[in-house]
Amino acid sequence: MGQVDRPDRRDILRVRAKSTAAWLAGASLLVLGNMAQARDPVPNFNLYGLTGLIDMPTAEVPSDATLSLTYSSFGDNSRGTLTFQITPRLTGSFRYSGIRNFAHKHSVDGSYFDRSFDMRYQLVKESRYLPSVVVGLQDFIGTGLYGGEYVVATKEILPGLKVTGGLGWGRLGSRNPLGTTGVRPTEILGEGGLPTYDRWFRGDVAAFGGLSYQFNDRFQIHAEYSSDAYTLESTSGAFTHESPFNFGASYTFRNGIQVSAYHAYGNEIGAQVTVHTNPRKAQIPAGNEPAPVPIKIRDPQGAYDLGWTSDATVIASTRSRLASAFERDGLRLEGLDLQATRATVRMRNDRYGRPAQALGRAVRAMTRALPDSVETFVVVPVVNGAPVLAIEFSRSDLERLEHEAAEDILARAKISDAFGQTPMPDQGAFPEFRWSLSPYLETSFFDPTSPVRADIGLRLKADYWLTRNIAASTSITKRIGGNLDAITREDPTGLPVVRTDYGKYASAGDPAIEYLTLAHYGRLSKDVYTRLTVGYLERMYAGVSAEVLWKPVTSRLALGAEVNYVRRRDFDQLFGLQSNVTRTGVIPDFNGHVSAYYDIGNGFHGQLDVGRYLAGDLGATVTISREFANGWKVGAYATFTDTPFEDFGEGSFDKGIRITIPLGAVMNTPSTEQTVFNINSLTRDGGARLNLDKRLYDKVRDYHEPEIAKSWGRFWR
């Protein structure tokens, strides 16, 4: 046991303030998603950020897709937990916790920080006679500080009165055990970060339970008997366990935010706040954006009038009327192939997060601008210079089905690959300059010396499209303030330093060129998309990146390959390069992956990347995401490479959670912008890939049939 560090009072406060800030940063995103949300009651959450009483779990289950963020504190313990209802029965949680006054070899200023993952599964749903029954694994990957397993049952026995009882192992079996089921090992597997399967449901088992009473839909009270003896906190920390009985009260605001206060373990007081959102409920249904223009009905004789086809002024005015109609709806007409009975438009959509809506707006504008004889409309959306879809409608169908169910027009539309049927851009469409200037917030979490760091500044982004598919792009940042530059952590690593120098990049790069590239996007053949990027690819690497993607327009499966040649950039992130030789090894010139992407169905998506990572380690990344039609994604990934766990260092292997929030779905107005939150283990050198923001798959897939069909109801919106 290491020596007990007693930090002075000021340090304790500083640590507390920082972990609160971490929680706030995350909370702001959930509050954003929390707006205008149809409320349905969410069960009470406990100090662990799980459905529970006070410190003990219950068998209650939030509705599918509920995403909850909890910050709790009692005594020396603070916990921030993100919980997601992965399926109607399966729950997953990620927790970052801090214990003050805790003696541990990894404690910093006397505070010990730890990450933990939980999983819960509902075995039995509550019915007239049966209680709900849940089995749970707590802190089942990692160092196991909170490690415990339980089976718990909850039943509402009188209106508002719920009874909970359960059996716990590990932590939850540490007080007054009833018996024992085998031997529970104490050694940590690997460097932490591995499933602690050798411990599950082994060792002492103890009973816990409690009652809750709900006075109304706002206010409830709880009492519980805890089977957690807080052994480690008592021996290594300042915790004194005086009583197993805990008491608490919770209030839920109209917007669903839960606040709770507790008296715990005889001598501690605690408090908690929980914010919920749900990707399926987080926006005003159908949005607030203006109505589309109605379909214009043709004069019955108009179809035979072909006089315009030889009149250049009519053709020119048609083109300009269509361009301005597109512009009114936030679309860009890049090209038009106008024939007597058929019109094909080349279109760019920078407004609608759901492509079906962009297609609907485009054909409505076409009915108003194109001559009556044009019976066939083909719309070809272009993304990053590459045509991604050709969708053909009969104008008569559009007129006839405007006020019918949206799937009727989808059934009549013909979807095909745009290769070989895309009009060239109009004269004057290129070159085109696009730019934006916006504030940014960059964060770094989970560094034990400072769990949260952040910078704010300004970011200038610009794209200069030289031709339809060649773009020069850059992003430049200028820091206004923050403390990312104070990172001095230098982790032991058995690999070439490919990412762990991030502190040096953060402190030297101001202003920084995040990227400065020349890129070509192309279509090699039907189903095949290509990207070639040259220049300063990302903050740490320059070089060449080539990617090819095979994705048939109606397929759920896509295959891709990417190969990169890299040179390490100078820490100041300007134009200089430095040697690929680092203090712990040489970064190989080449890295790359082959990837398979598959839309599994029922809202799940899988991705497998196999190849050579930046540090030269060989391996694979598995990503599973729950995806929602409106663009929300909640995913988890793990990378396994040939790097031995001891070379990888703390965490054993790279893993994380990624949440994608489409801004359109929380702002209630259309937008193609999205915010991605990455919550991963400490940045390590194993399993690292280049950070490229214009990889092909997501951009291409959005417009392909399996995706557009999911939110096709937006077509007539």
């Binding site: 159908a286 936030g330 200037l437 039609a629 109801g713």
Partner: protein, 225 residues
């Protein structure tokens, strides 16, 4: 203009922290979103009801030669004047200057756009003839919506149509006698009762319909046919 349900001004602060208050030539929509959020939160705080005045009715009728109607979103206390902008084989679409629309068939509302929680389309092939014939009957009725996840869903109802008393409809340039019809509907969603005043030619002069869980009842009255 029909007032949107407001979002708290806190959206703005959060939007700023997430890097949304940008300028440039590529992010106009996001700016617009922030603007709308502020604007609607201001309106929300004032708690104003938006009522159409008789002067506005007169002005609109004199300026716009097309059919005009008055729509009333009861849940929000918002009214607006709308002018017909398109007739697609009997589906007549009316719009406010702010691009919010209501589409009617024979005077019965079949869809809305741009008011939030829009009714995307309806199946009225059974209900409309019964109401227009001013006789009793039973009819199937379907309402189609988008949910918050952007997935379409349909609420199916069975409606019992009853004949009520004759009524005079005097509004704007409409001055006719109709018959009050009521449709009592039960089905997938909450039960509701729609009311229609039907002229002798079968046109619904005035209607009050349940338009979905988000907007609930909306009234629509023709003031120039």
């Amino acid at each position: 203009m029909i007032r949107f349900l407001a979002k708290p001004a806190v959206v703005l602060a959060l939007a700023a922290s997430l890097g949304l208050s940008a300028c440039g030539n590529t992010q106009k929509d996001v700016n617009q979103a922030v603007f709308l959020a502020v604007k609607s939160s201001i309106q929300q705080r004032r708690g104003e009801e938006v009522n159409v005045t008789p002067q506005e009715v007169v002005q609109t009728l004199s300026r716009n030669p097309n059919p005009i109607s008055l729509v009333d979103l009861e849940k929000r206390g918002s009214q607006a004047l709308m002018a017909q902008i398109q007739n697609n084989r009997g589906y007549r679409t009316y719009a406010t200057p702010q691009r919010q629309t209501v589409t009617v068939r024979g005077g019965m509302m079949t869809s809305t756009r741009g008011i939030g929680g829009d009714l995307m389309s309806s199946y009225v092939e059974e209900l409309l003839p019964v109401v227009q014939s001013r006789s009793r009957g039973i009819a199937e009725y379907e309402l189609r919506f988008l949910n918050s996840e952007d997935i379409s869903y349909t609420l199916t109802y069975t409606c019992a149509v009853h004949v009520g008393a004759p009524m005079d409809v005097v509004s704007g340039l409409v001055n006719e006698t109709g018959v009050m019809m009521q449709a009592i509907c039960t089905g997938d969603g909450p039960s509701f009762t729609n009311s229609y005043v039907v002229a002798a030619d079968g046109e619904i002069l005035s209607t009050r319909q349940w338009m979905g869980p988000f907007n609930e009842y909306i009234a629509f009255q023709q003031i120039r046919r």
